[in-house]
């Protein structure tokens, strides 16, 4: 089981730590050629316009989209969720665009409005999950075959569509490995 963590920009090292602590093999992925050798991919937090531009400039967007459509398990946090979405409110920025969701970037406001909260996640046992939101997006609407796994104050913040998973929040910034374990379970169905 090899998990690539897209390492163009953002908190990829935190995801690699979390995946290692789950016992998975994880490595920073920066070249399109490396996509062939992964059983799963994580798109970390970062700045979505920066990561989208770098993916386009270095020829990663198209091969990644093809693999995601073909069933590669992909998990996006925050920026990763934005890049997976088909629709981004008020933006035509580059994206992978494979999940039938509409997201709103920075939906909670500026950095001083960033927060933590306990949330409960469907199919994740063991009580509340401490979710860290940083200039976070919200899923504003979901389309066909998308399952909302978690809401906070009535807003969807975690969704799954087949082999694609996205969260508004950052499990990699906590010691709680349950969301990463949930994603790893998607890589060996």
């Amino acid at each position: 089981m090899r998990i690539g963590v897209l390492a163009l920009q953002g908190d990829f090292a935190k995801h690699i730590d979390s995946l290692h602590r789950c016992g998975a093999e994880a490595f920073p992925l920066r070249y399109a050629e490396e996509l062939g050798a992964v059983d799963g991919l994580v798109i970390p937090g970062g700045e979505s316009t920066t990561v989208g531009k770098l993916m386009d400039r270095f020829g990663i967007t198209e091969p990644l989209r093809e693999r995601a459509v073909a069933g590669l398990p992909v998990y996006g946090t925050c920026t990763g969720l934005i890049l997976l979405a088909k629709e981004i409110l008020d933006s035509r920025q580059p994206r992978i665009g494979v999940m039938n969701i509409t997201v709103e970037r920075n939906a909670y406001g500026r950095q001083i409005d960033s927060f933590e909260a306990d949330v409960s996640i469907q199919s994740v046992e063991g009580g509340p999950f401490r979710a860290v939101f940083i200039r976070a997006p919200i899923i504003r609407s979901v389309g066909e075959s998308v399952e909302v796994l978690c809401e906070h104050n009535g807003n969807p913040i975690m969704a799954r569509q087949g082999s694609l998973l996205g969260t508004s929040f950052h499990p990699e910034l906590t010691d709680d490995l349950r969301v990463h374990q949930y994603f790893l379970s998607m890589t060996h169905p």
């Binding site: 163009l8 920066t50 960033s114 950052h170």
Partner: protein, 304 residues
């Protein structure tokens, strides 16, 4: 600290977390809405809103203060209007907590308590724990980094020499911090208290660095980066992201250079890519030979 509906706002994890999100990126100094757009189009992860870049502050002299709030708002609004959502940072003077309060009230995403501006207090820095907005501070060595973290800085940047276009101080400061951490990591526990005294750093943070071998917050590089190879050098020396000030908008072709430095920061360890990115960028900023400057002209010695 509990806010609406059980949300706990502006936690330490939120503050450090934003710095984590900026890793591998380039934070660019901008002085106008047009420059902010050039930075965002190039792929900057954040902009630093200023009235003057450090090279001009150095040239013009006088007291350098926090930027006019109109300038900061103009930059924030221009990014929003063009649907860029990258964070906006701004600088306050060392120890000038009232400027920091103003910047927090304006809604900037990060405050840089910066030696580039004229210090307001020659003994004390801002108590950054009191703020909701996160802070970044400069350092020249590990002791200074840990003092700033002790005061509440959620991100550290090595100072370099701002506005110089000369990488030599950035290299000196990054090597000093990295060497300091390697040294602590190798010391036996009983030597750590004396080492805390030598460094002038909080004991608890000294113990933490000795155990983990790294700073408890991200460590970026600033002050003198002017080329893609400069960015590559700092990333290879251990920087986790770079600030570029005068290096972009004091060069011949800012848009092209900005994009090249963004790409060089991601692919810093692939020399073939750095070679491509370095070709045909036009003139870099002219820069200064720091050996020709006197101590009083150096910005990096500010901070205590």
């Amino acid at each position: 600290m509990s806010g609406d509906n059980g949300n706990e706002k502006s936690t330490w994890r939120n503050k450090v977390g934003l710095a984590e999100m900026l890793k591998g990126g380039v934070i660019m100094d901008v002085t106008s809405a047009e420059q902010a757009m050039i930075a965002a189009e190039a792929g900057a992860v954040a902009v630093m809103a200023l009235e003057r870049v450090p090279a001009d502050i150095r040239k013009e002299g006088g007291v350098a203060r926090m930027a006019d709030p109109l300038k900061i708002k103009e930059i924030m609004q221009s990014l929003k209007a063009s649907h860029y959502e990258i964070p906006v940072m701004a600088k306050c003077r060392i120890g000038h907590f009232a400027e920091a309060q103003v910047l927090e009230a304006l809604g900037v995403d990060y405050v840089d308590e910066s030696e580039v501006l004229t210090p307001a207090d020659e003994h004390f820095h801002v108590n950054k724990h009191l703020f909701k907005v996160p802070f970044v501070c400069g350092c020249r060595d590990l002791g200074e980094a840990l003092r700033r973290i002790g005061e509440g800085a959620a991100m550290i940047r090595t100072k370099g020499e701002a506005g110089s276009g000369n990488i030599v101080e950035a290299v000196r400061h990054m090597r000093s911090v990295m060497d300091g951490m390697r040294r602590l990591h190798s010391l036996p526990h009983e030597e750590l208290m004396a080492e805390a005294k030598n460094l002038g750093a909080p004991y608890a943070l000294v113990v933490e660095v000795a155990e983990t071998g790294k700073l408890p917050v991200p460590n970026f590089s600033a002050g003198g980066i002017a080329t893609p190879a400069d960015a590559s050098l700092m990333m290879q020396l251990g920087a986790e992201a770079v600030f570029v000030g005068s290096g972009i908008f004091k060069s011949e072709d800012p848009a092209k250079r900005a994009k090249a430095i963004v790409e060089a920061t991601t692919y810093y360890d692939r020399p073939e890519t750095i070679a491509d990115l370095s070709a045909g960028l036009g003139d870099a900023m002219r820069g200064l030979d720091l050996r020709q400057l006197e101590e009083k002209d150096l910005l990096s010695v500010r901070g205590w």
